[in-house]
């Protein structure tokens, strides 16, 4: 048997009939009256095969509808009219109001019936003996009363409240303070720890970098030192090489120049040539000089001889024919000797005695005219003699001239 669901639940329909005359103000608290379905026109009884089909709702014959409505309206109007004519309590007088009044406190139903109440009486079953009542002796003594006015007694609950509040409040406040202090301390400690960590890390970093820097610097210094040494050596070597090259070049030039200068200086000599130059030629020249000297000497001797002869002849002549002009001949001989004298002056190292001797002899009769004459004479000889630069010739000349005075002196009486 399955369950059955209703689209619309079956319910008892209320009856639309109104029992009592309706007020216009319809109270709602009347009990609902339900209609009897036996007498409900909506319920179809009997034969349902041939029904007068009612027109569907809403599609009633409009005329009928209208008629029905009109009838309803008329009924309503009639009712209202009837209401108006019904006797009512008259309206209140001016200034007054109708008030409902209840005459009795309790409503009484007027009826004939007498209210009857049944009463019974029965003794109780055996009861327990009740407890003896408390013996309260009669009061003796004086009654003393105190009067407690309003507000003398204190209400403990009221009074204790503020104190309790203070106590509890202070305790909790203190506790809160201490907890907060501890929290603050813990926070401070934590932040201090963090700071300490950071600080130690930073310090370590700084020291590490310092150390690194120091090591790098030392390394750099060492490398720089090394490099400096290398470059220094390099420079030195380069300089040495340069110096060597330069020296080589210089010396390369030097050698030929040295040789050249030596050669120029005459250090490289052909020994034969040298020998010839050194030995032979001087001897040759000496010999030539000697020869020339000899010839010169011969000439001079000849000159002197001639002069001697001429002087003797002059003396003899003067002896025979004395004139003041004789002295000039002597002077000329002196001048001649004087011309020889310069030869002596030319030669170094002649003995001063010979010089003075000559000078003593021949300077006693100086005359410039004759000297110039003799000079002219002797100049030829001198010219010949001066041509010979060698010292030997002059020496020989000097020796020979030195010999001359001896010859001359010996010649003189």
């Amino acid at each position: 048997m399955g369950t059955y669901t209703y689209t619309s639940q079956p319910r008892a329909l209320p009856c639309q009939r109104r029992r009592y005359r309706d007020n216009l103000l319809q109270p709602d608290d009347e009990p609902m009256r339900f209609g009897n379905i036996m007498y409900d026109r909506r319920v179809i009884r009997g034969n349902t095969y041939a029904l007068q089909t009612l027109p569907l709702a809403g599609q009633q014959d409009p005329l009928e509808l209208q008629r029905l409505q009109q009838a309803k309206r008329r009924a309503l109007a009639r009712k209202r009219a009837r209401e108006q004519f019904r006797p009512r309590t008259p309206e209140p007088v001016e200034g007054r109001k109708h008030v409902d009044v209840q005459t009795e406190l309790y409503l009484e139903e007027i009826a004939d019936r007498i209210i009857e109440v049944d009463m019974e009486c029965q003794t109780d079953a055996f009861l327990d003996r009740p407890p003896t009542p408390l013996f309260i002796p009669a009061k003796t003594g004086k009654d003393v009363a105190t009067e407690i006015l309003e507000g003398e007694l204190f209400d403990f609950d009221l009074e204790v409240r503020p104190m309790l509040e203070v106590l509890v409040g202070k305790t909790i406040e203190q506790a809160l303070l201490e907890v907060m202090e501890e929290e603050e301390l813990a926070n401070l400690q934590a932040s201090q720890n963090a700071y300490e960590e950071l600080r130690s890390i930073e310090l370590a970093e700084v020291q590490r970098l310092e150390e690194q820097e120091r090591r790098h610097r030392e390394e750099k210094e060492r490398r720089k030192q090394q490099q400096w040494e290398v470059t220094h050596k390099h420079n030195e070597t380069a300089q040495k090489i340069a110096a060597q090259a330069f020296a080589q070049r210089y010396l390369a030039d030097l050698l030929p120049s040295v040789f050249g200068s030596l050669r120029d200086g005459g250090y490289f000599y052909d020994p034969i040539q040298r020998d010839i130059e050194m030995g032979f030629l001087p001897w040759l020249l000496n010999e030539v000089d000697k020869t020339v000297e000899h010839s010169m000497l011969g000439r001079t001797v000849l000159d002197m001889l001639i002069r001697e002869v001429v002087e003797r002849r002059l003396d003899m002549f003067e002896h025979k024919y004395p004139t003041p002009g004789n002295r000039s001949w002597q002077g000329s001989s002196g001048a001649m000797a004087g011309s020889v004298g310069p030869y002596e002056f030319q030669a170094p190292g002649t003995s001063p005695t010979q010089n003075s001797f000559l000078a003593k002899d021949y300077q006693s009769r100086p005359t410039p005219d004759r000297r110039s004459l003799e000079r002219g004479l002797s100049q030829d000889g001198r010219g010949v003699e001066e041509g010979d630069p060698t010292g030997q010739s002059t020496d020989t000349g000097v020796k020979q001239t030195a010999e001359l005075p001896d010859v001359w002196n010996s010649a003189q009486p």
């Binding site: 960590e197 130690s200 890390i201 310090l203 370590a204 020291q207 590490r208 150390e211 090591r215």
Partner: protein, 342 residues
């Protein structure tokens, strides 16, 4: 009529060991007077009350203004140990505030506190070292400690002290002072051998703090040389494999500084420092990663290190994507150093 006093008994929360704190601005002057009193109990009670009051920085300021520090300094030499303990505690609490620290430095409290370095009471020494530790966290405070010539005694104490908590505090103080430049004094006092022993201790906190102090020691050149001389580097490399991250981070940091010198680098390379450092790159703590990257950067300066690390450049490239910007920067620097050609 209601009485102000409700019952004859005192309220249950009044502390009989504390002096009564006067109201408002009279509190501290009254306590100051009580501190100077002859009665021992008064002094003790005043000290207890002062301990409570010193948590408030305004009270600290006022206390220093009225010269509480002078009375406290006098109390440091007291014969009663409770008085001394409490005085050091008060000073320790004052040292947690900046005003307190500045007051310490102005009134030369450091020197007076140092008289108690050899105190038989452990609590006294604990408080003392805690006060020093707080003071040393301020740069001027660290300078003050250095100027008072406390570094040699602290180093000596480091070795003598048996209690590890005190050792931890001394290590903290020393590391803060060393960051401020006490390194030469400390090195003269043989701090490196002491730290070397501590690196091998069983307590991991001590190891971590000792490594941190060693990191501070390695900052100046003398420290690096001494660390290399005493062969601390192999121990540091060994500590890189420690399970605790803080230890790893500090060991990597100390290595980072120690390997700046060439001898340090080669000592680390001989001790096979690079594989553990590469493993540390994957750690979760950013400090570890940062220090490891920096240490590897130092080692990459040496030719052998560079050739070894060239195979690991991809790892560094991966690290460049790290959220921490400092780590990224460090990774970039590391790659630059590894790929540097002379």
């Amino acid at each position: 009529m209601a009485h102000t006093q409700i019952s004859m008994y005192l309220p249950p929360d009044i502390n009989p060991t504390q002096a009564a704190i006067a109201y408002g601005c009279r509190a501290l002057p009254k306590l100051n007077e009580e501190l100077q009193s002859e009665n021992l109990r008064t002094r003790q009670k005043a000290l207890m009350a002062l301990c409570d009051l010193m948590h408030d920085p305004e009270h600290v300021y006022q206390a220093i203004q009225i010269g509480c520090l002078e009375s406290l300094k006098a109390l440091l030499r007291d014969s009663n140990h409770l008085v001394r303990i409490k005085t050091t505690e008060v000073l320790c609490i004052m040292a947690t505030h900046n005003i307190g620290r500045e007051g310490f430095l102005k009134h030369n409290v450091v020197l007076f506190l140092s008289l108690l370095l050899n105190d038989p009471q452990l609590l006294c020494r604990l408080n003392l070292h805690q006060a020093y530790k707080h003071l040393a966290q301020l740069p001027q405070g660290a300078q003050g400690i250095i100027n008072s010539g406390l570094i040699p005694s602290l180093v000596w104490k480091l070795q003598r002290e048996e209690h590890e908590s005190v050792q931890l505090l001394i290590l903290d103080t020393l590391s803060s002072c060393l960051w401020e430049g006490a390194a030469s004094e400390a090195l003269d006092n043989r701090v490196v051998p002491f730290l070397k022993e501590m690196l091998l201790s069983a307590n991991e906190d001590i190891r971590a703090k000792a490594a941190h102090t060693l990191m501070a020691v390695c900052v100046p050149l003398d420290g690096k040389n001494q660390v290399w001389q005493y062969d601390v580097i192999p121990i540091l490399v060994h500590m890189l494999k420690d399970p605790m991250q803080e230890v790893q981070a500090n060991a990597a940091g100390a290595l980072m500084y120690a390997t700046i010198t060439t001898e340090g680098k080669y000592a680390a390379l001989d001790a096979e420092a690079m594989p553990p450092l590469l493993m540390l790159l994957n750690s979760t703590l950013s400090k570890v990663r940062l220090n490891a990257i920096k240490a590897l950067t130092m080692l990459a300066e040496a030719p052998e290190g560079r050739s070894y690390l060239q195979a690991h450049v991809p790892v560094f490239r991966l690290i460049e994507d790290d959220p921490n910007p400092a780590v990224q920067q460090a990774a970039l620097t590391a790659i630059k150093v590894i790929e540097w050609k002379p």
